[in-house]
Amino acid sequence: MARFVCESREEFLDRLRALVDAGTDPENIRVRMPFYVPEALQVLGEGPDRLRFFALFGGIAGFGSGLALTIYSVLSWPIIVGGKPIVSLPPFLLIGYLLTILFGALGAFAGFLLLARLPSGRSLAADAEFPERFVIAVETGEGA
């Protein structure tokens, strides 16, 4: 594994551009930044954030689960309340809405952990070694 340590943001970006221009596969490049530098993602050609799909599908699953839970419950214990039909959607929408938010939020959090490969015992570089520097690591082979 080749490793480059840069002191400044500009030096880091120049080095990153040079690596990508030289034909290094962005998939093999790992970067570590003391603060977020959006240009680095542009250089690496990262696609749009996939996290939103976790939130979207979590939300849809939550809405479906909310409706399923309420409808299953009232069909299992059918008690007529206030002369309303057994399956009456208006109050069930509330449960569906609440579970949309819950599952959407949990889905987004789970997606964040998955995409960020957390929790992980294996880190790019030891924390103490490069506290305020930019680090570029290029993986050269399997198991590097």
Partner: protein, 350 residues
């Protein structure tokens, strides 16, 4: 392509022509229905007050999009004088209200006119002060924005309680006032969205090319307001549905039993909640002026359908006159915004 423009000298004449035209269509004896003036008044009061209110909120919180659309939105502030004039024109139509025959302490014709006129004039006064200060970049702008918003909230609450809810007297819903002013803000943002599409801000108006970009914030706000509107509508509906009390439920039951009104209900639910929610969910849709403009136009159509849903059963109206009056208003609003360079003092801010 609009080629007619107004100047400060000709504006009052155009204004007078609008009022005379509305009076002619309303009282010219063309048709029998009485509700069209009320419907036009309610709809345009919401739109005109809401647009300035959306700008005032944006000024208060320091939103970026208002810098781009400030002159377009503020150009319509003189139109805030239209609702008080139309309210005076509405006086012969006040027999539409069931309380007119048996006036009470709150609902009687003189007090009704007095409080509504006073509030509409207060909205005009504070709106004028706010618009002029905001255009000048005056440091006292936030204070006048707060005054305007107070007047706006009070006025829209009275629009809800006095103009619309009392048509169904003694039916009451305490949420109606809040529902109306949130809707007015939503409608104001939708109007800003339509503006982006119809009269896009030009680079020559003190704007650099990259400054035109923050228009996508309007898409984001429309999306957010669709959820808020859906929540308020649902909160109101759920309580009526659960309680199932005859004096409360008759308002909805009467409107949902016949077909045209039931279709209107589906239409405005789709237009004010489903279309903006699903249409503006994607990131790319929010960045497209065309998509935001189209969704905003659908939202405005939804509000029209919703107001019709509230007012039509209590005050039957001829569709032709209703359309003519609203097209006249739309044309006048567009003409005012189009002529902004001649109507407003030269701006120094961007």
């Amino acid at each position: 392509m609009i080629t007619v423009t107004m100047s400060r000298g000709t504006f009052p004449f155009y204004f007078l022509a609008l009022v005379v035209a509305v009076t002619f269509f309303e009282y010219g004896g063309l048709v029998a229905g009485k509700g069209s003036l009320l419907m036009t008044l309610v709809f345009w009061t919401t739109l005109l007050q809401g647009a300035i209110a959306a700008a005032a909120v944006a000024d208060l919180v320091g939103a970026r999009w208002i810098t781009v659309l400030r002159r377009q939105i503020m150009a319509a502030y003189p139109l805030l004088l239209v609702p008080p004039l139309l309210l005076i024109l509405l006086v012969p139509r006040l027999d539409l209200y069931p309380w007119a025959e048996a006036p009470g302490q709150w609902l009687n014709v003189p007090f009704f006119l007095l409080r509504n006129l006073a509030l509409l004039l207060a909205v005009y006064g504070t709106g004028r002060l706010y618009a002029l200060r905001s255009l000048r970049g005056d440091p006292r702008t936030p204070r006048s924005a707060v005054f305007y918003l107070f007047a706006f909230v009070a006025s829209q609450t009275l629009v809800a309680f006095d103009w619309v809810m009392s048509l169904e007297y003694p039916w009451i819903s305490t949420l109606f006032g809040a529902y109306f002013f949130v809707e007015a803000l939503y409608a104001g943002l939708a109007l800003a969205g339509v503006l982006c599409f119809l009269l896009p801000p030009r680079q020559g108006e003190g704007l650099a090319a990259e400054e035109v970009k923050p228009l996508r914030d309007i898409g984001l706000l429309l999306f957010g307001f669709s959820v808020l509107w859906g929540g308020l509508f649902f909160a109101q509906y759920l309580l009526l549905w659960y309680g199932n009390l005859p004096e409360e439920i008759q308002f909805i039951a009467r409107r949902l039993e016949s077909l045209p009104l039931r279709a209107l209900c589906v239409l405005f639910l789709a237009a004010n909640f489903l279309v903006p929610f699903l249409g503006l969910l994607g990131r790319r849709a929010k960045r497209s002026d065309r998509v935001v403009g189209a969704v905003a136009a659908i939202v405005l159509a939804g509000f029209f359908a919703e107001r019709l849903f509230f007012i039509l059963p209590a005050a039957p109206m001829p569709v032709g006159i209703l359309l003519v009056e609203n097209i006249l208003f739309f044309a006048f609003w567009l003409l005012t915004v189009h002529s902004r360079e001649y109507l407003l003092p030269a701006g120094t801010e961007s």
